[in-house]
């Protein structure tokens, strides 16, 4: 029997109400992503890729349609439900890293465990991942003492420490130079291969998109390829 997709989107619509104007950012998205797949979503500005990212991450609710992540129908979730989603099912990597400036790298990762109500201890497997991410010697440093590439690697570690069903990355190399960009993208691919982590990466960069197993193209709120 074929395993059902880990992400299943049907007829996803998202409308923003800006004063008297309604902006339809997503106009009916249908998309399936299999477990363990690394999918790059590309498109120009205004294509709706970030909006789809925000819906998948539970940061904003869908207006209509159905979105299922690892068996959970998220389109109908309330605020509390979407908050739980981010704790349990979804790991997020942002373009701007979004680390807490007052905590060390280690504490930034640990707080994800604490929020999820899990014990603050790392498995042997996670310690191995930290070694792969090259963070072992940087764990006691605060973000202001780390380069952009290091901060993004901490953000990746934080996003996967709870073993989420999916890892969402929004322009993860947007603030990095080319060398660090390649390193981060290579790490994401490595995590996908090594752990079977399902990854959905939003990018406007075609070269970065090439690191995924599949490229999904969006334009004007719909998938075009």
């Amino acid at each position: 029997m074929t395993e059902s997709p880990i992400i299943q989107i049907r007829g996803l619509r998202k409308v923003f109400h800006l004063g008297e104007i309604n902006v339809e950012a997503l106009r009916g998205i249908d998309l399936d992503i299999s477990r363990g797949e690394f999918v790059s979503v590309v498109g120009p500005s205004g294509s709706g890729k970030s909006t789809m990212f925000h819906v998948l991450s539970g940061l904003t609710p869908a207006t209509a349609g159905s979105v299922t992540i690892d068996g959970v129908e998220i389109a109908k979730l309330d605020e509390a439900g979407r908050t739980s989603l981010r704790k349990e099912k979804v790991g997020i990597v942002f373009q701007k890293y979004n680390l807490l400036p007052t905590l060390t790298a280690e504490e930034n990762i640990e707080i994800a465990l604490h929020i999820a109500g899990k014990p603050i201890e790392w498995t042997a497997e996670f310690k191995e991942i930290l070694a792969v991410l090259g963070l072992e010697s940087r764990l006691n440093h605060k973000p202001r003492a780390m380069s952009g590439g290091e901060q993004q690697r901490v953000a990746i570690a934080r996003a996967i420490v709870n073993q989420p069903a999916i890892l969402l990355a929004d322009e993860p190399t947007g603030n990095l130079d080319s060398k660090n960009s390649e390193a981060v993208l290579a790490l994401l691919r490595d995590l996908n291969r090594r752990l079977g982590q399902t990854i959905v990466m939003i990018t406007h960069n075609p070269e970065a998109a090439g690191y995924g197993d599949r490229i999904v193209k969006m334009r004007d709120g719909v998938i075009v390829g």
Binding site: E107, I111, I115
Partner: protein, 367 residues
């Protein structure tokens, strides 16, 4: 983990943290100072009343118990009371205001008062020997920097300090009775009459008998226990409401300071709150961080405020009027700590509610 985050947040903004703690410390110190002054002055008044050695005190009918003015009692009443059955001795004093309502001097028959009270302990000098002699207690001498032989100017006249006594008997400043009667333009009159009984246990009985005497109906008659009880927190009318007003002001100050401080903290950390929300932090989690920060600020402020109250005590003793006595009242430390906590936590509620209602996406894009 949460405590780590909270402490790092407080360390990250040291000026804001210090100012918040200082404001709460001032709130706590203000309450403790005013409570300490109230208790201190009342306790001091009690001590000085008991120190007279009297069992019964007579005052003019027209004065309040707390005031020491009104030189209207006929001096010949002293002889009358001395002849009453059960009385060991009687003497009186006349009070004259030095300044305001806090400082006054007492004119006394020093020999009689010495016998009644069990003796004045002279730390320096001795009794009156001239018409311009004045005796002060050790606290008064220290505050006014007086020694035996110093000149003290009161009522536009120079007085010579002939003796410095241990505090705790009647008044801080003593002069010969006729001198004060002259100053008060009340020759042959007294402010109070003190009666020592042969059997102090019969004081209540004695007071009852005096009150039954119609000829004495114009006077206030108290046993020493009764009058001392009036110099207490419960005995002074309006004192508790006064304290409640002070406490209320303290709570409002703490509330407003923390409200403003946490409001700016929440604004500054909008993005951090967005990050926590993006990690799945529930409203209770975020609120918990803010309330913990507030609790730490309040507790630190309370401790600092308690320490600051010792500073105010020192300052009042060093620079204030000798009439002002600030007592340390440890039973109020947990009360003021609770007041600081309650005010601060209440002040955090609005900013905390604002923080948890922030849209996560908007918060993440805040710079």
């Amino acid at each position: 983990m949460l405590n780590q985050l909270v402490l790092e947040n407080l360390k990250h903004r040291p000026v804001r943290t210090i100012l918040s703690v200082a404001a709460i410390a001032i709130e706590v110190a203000m309450i403790l100072t005013l409570v300490g002054l109230s208790y201190g002055m009342l306790d001091e008044a009690q001590r000085r009343q008991r120190g007279i050695g009297a069992d019964v005190i007579i005052k003019p009918g027209s004065t309040s118990v707390m005031s020491f003015g009104g030189v209207t009692l006929p001096e010949k009443l002293v002889d009358y009371f001395e002849k009453q059955p059960g009385v060991a001795m009687a003497t009186g004093s006349a009070t004259h205001v030095i300044s305001g309502f806090l400082e006054s001097a007492s004119g006394v028959n020093l020999d009689a008062l010495t016998r009644m009270s069990g003796g004045f302990k002279f730390l320096a000098g001795g009794p009156f020997s001239g018409p311009n002699d004045i005796i002060v207690d050790e606290r008064y001498a220290r505050t006014k920097q007086l020694t035996v032989g110093s000149t003290l100017r009161l009522w536009d006249k120079d007085w010579k300090v002939c003796g410095i006594v241990e505090p705790g008997k009647l008044s801080r400043v003593l002069l010969p009775l006729p001198v004060v009667q002259d100053l008060a333009a009340a020759p042959g009159k007294l402010s109070q009459i003190f009666i020592k009984l042969q059997d102090p246990t019969k004081a209540d009985e004695f007071v009852k008998a005096l009150k039954a005497n119609e000829q004495l109906s114009g006077y206030q008659i108290y046993s020493i226990d009764e009058i001392v009880s009036l110099f207490s927190v419960e005995g002074v009318p309006g004192f508790k409401p006064f304290l409640n007003v002070v406490i209320g002001l303290g709570v409002v100050v703490g509330f407003l300071v923390v409200l403003l401080s946490m409001y700016t903290a929440v604004l500054e950390r909008t993005r951090e709150i967005g990050i926590l929300k993006s990690l799945g932090a529930a409203p209770g989690y975020i609120m918990g961080i803010l309330l913990r920060e507030t609790a730490i600020l309040a507790l630190a402020g309370a401790v600092a405020g308690i320490l600051l109250s010792f500073v105010t005590q020192w300052a009042i003793e060093a620079f204030g009027s000798p009439a002002l006595v600030q007592k340390v009242v440890p039973t109020w430390w947990p009360i003021t700590t609770a007041i600081a906590l309650v005010g601060a936590l209440a002040g955090t509620l609005y900013p905390a509610m604002k923080a948890v209602r922030h849209d996560a996406l908007e918060a993440l894009s805040y710079d």
